[in-house]
């Protein structure tokens, strides 16, 4: 029997989880959009960012002190990546770039564990991850403050990045670079600065995603595996679309929870690991460039 209230609850829970995936996926999109690089190191950056943030707090910095320090650190990481990894690899094909970012992920993970150790840490943002009681009483749907915060943060970030891309000079430059780096360079768009900026922005996005995930699951190595959760979101949304990430996140989150709860038990469960990927393949068969991706036109 379909219990409708339970169905709603699963759906809501799934949609909220989906927004958490979107947060991670956003960093991928930023970099792909600007430099055509599928940055597999994004998961490692999430881990490194929030680990450093907690690390600085352990060293005695207050919350609002550690935050800017970490942001600066992530900007430096982004700039260094651009300078030492991507610039030498300019004009290489996308396989090579993908490999380079996986190599980068090894480096970042290694450095993070070397500098901050392998202890598991706790991050308390002061946001409760317990069901909001009046909502639970009234509707029977369990939603926590952290869920809502994550949703709001994801929405704000998407809006901000959307504005950045469409309304500012930098954003126009970004879009030009994404279209054709050589042409953009020739009309005087400072390519290097734009790339540095994007990598820095991706670092900040990673920090935000890391803080919300860290608050929920603890600050630890497993955060790097979040990248695997973000991939189906990315392909469904399209690699180049910021709003697509949110929509796809909702689709993935909602459908995987429903599938796990309603279909999973007949197969012994645990189908969440592959379900989003299968869903993504289905989407791709209908639209090979993702829901919001730019149409790929192929010419001979």
């Amino acid at each position: 029997m379909l219990d409708f209230q339970f169905f709603i609850e699963v759906l809501v829970g799934g949609l909220l989880s989906g927004l958490m995936y979107s947060l991670v996926a956003l960093g991928f999109v930023l970099i792909y959009k600007a430099s055509g690089v599928f940055n597999f190191a994004q998961g490692a950056m999430v881990f490194f960012a929030v680990l450093s943030f907690v690390g600085f707090m352990e060293l005695g910095l207050p919350f609002w002190g550690a935050l800017p320090v970490t942001v600066v650190l992530m900007v430096i990481v982004g700039m260094a990546t651009e300078r030492f990894v991507l610039r030498p690899l300019v004009n290489q094909n996308e396989n090579t770039l993908l490999m380079a970012t996986i190599g980068l992920a090894f480096v970042i993970e290694g450095v993070a564990q070397m500098v901050w150790g392998v202890d598991v840490r706790r991050l308390d943002l002061g946001i409760k991850d317990e069901p909001i009681s009046w909502l639970a009483d009234k509707t029977g749907v369990f939603v926590s403050q952290l869920d809502i915060t994550a949703g709001v943060v994801a929405g704000v970030m998407v809006a901000a990045l959307g504005l950045l891309f469409s309304r500012t000079k930098v954003g126009r430059g970004l879009r030009a670079v994404a279209d054709d780096p050589a042409a953009a360079l020739s009309i005087g768009i400072p390519l290097k600065h734009i790339w540095m900026l994007v990598w820095a922005a991706a670092g900040v996005v990673a920090l935000v995603a890391g803080m919300l995930w860290g608050a929920r699951s603890g600050v630890q190595f497993a955060l790097v595996l979040l990248a695997l959760k973000a991939l189906p979101v990315l392909i469904i949304g399209g690699f180049t679309s910021v709003p697509g990430v949110i929509v796809a996140g909702l689709i993935v989150g909602g459908s995987e929870k429903l599938a796990e709860v309603y279909i999973g038990p007949s197969f012994g469960g645990g189908i969440e690991g592959w379900f989003p990927y299968m869903l993504a393949v289905l989407f791709l068969l209908i639209r090979p460039e993702g829901l919001f991706g730019e149409k790929i036109i192929r010419r001979v």
Binding site: A100, G110, V111, Q113, M114, L285, R298
Partner: protein, 355 residues
Amino acid sequence: MFYREAGQFRTTYAQDTQLLPLREDRVGMAFMLIIAFGVIPFVASDYWLSALLIPWLILALVALGQNILMGYAGQLSLGAAGFMAVGAFACYNLILRVDGIPFVVAIALSGVCSALVGIVFGLPSLRIRGLYLAVATLASQFFIVWALDKFGWFKNYDVAGVITAQQIVIFGHTFATPQEKYWVVLVIVAALTWAAKNMARGSIGRGWMAVRDMDVAAEVTGLPLMRTKLQAFAISSFYCGVGGALFAFAYLQTVEPSAFTIELSFRILFMVIIGGLGTILGSFLGAGFILLTPIFLNILFHAIFGKAVDATITSALEQVIFGVMIIAFLIFEPHGLARMWQQTKERLRLWPFPH
């Protein structure tokens, strides 16, 4: 000086189409095979055989499969470990359920099973390209491992879920020692490498390369796109399946889904790229590099720092160095180790008078 082709003329068609047209290459290859078959098994320690050489050969075979798909046919795939798992489990079930099946037949059939699965998961490639395809192939990776783990039949309803692989028995003889296993692996790998080399330089390989370079153009010129792509998926999966079966039977000696994780898929991808896309030699060099570097770094660091430095830090440092090496390789030699060997060969040819 050592490597000169001057004075070697091809006078027959047979000579023109032979695998190694140069005498130096033939001598070199014969020499290497003699060493590989006749010398190494007797001088290498058990550690070298069972922990380094056997997995190296097996992973080279898998990398070769990945290279067929990625380097020759241009289809980016991240599912190699999944197909390995199919091979491993197929081999286990064949030996278990078919009485008296010869090991070599079981291995070949597990490759076929894997190829069939590969065709199914290769279907999306007809419509999806590039990175999108890569992520789509991840679906196969996750689904296969999940299914093998979930349905008890594959594991013969073993409670533990980790199965002990059966003995390798060929013509009534049990291949148990590292030497014997090494020979089994070496023969299979050598045969399949020879086959791959011939496929790659023949019409099949040319079809793949045409698809890789521009699939629309290939189709326009009359190449059946669907057949070529699926053929590449099938053959690639066959190699992965055989490799997976050997990995389980000759190396791990257990059959379990969690040995074939996405990380292994990534490593295989590395092997192909570091080794050199679209080269047979590169698969071997790349597999050696990716498999052995972390091990040597680990040994090296323990030898240098001993117990003076926190092992946690050295373990993390190994990771960093490994990552830096990969990036450095991609920057300085994006065409991989195989190209480096080519250049060395060029230099040898001119040595000692480079001008």
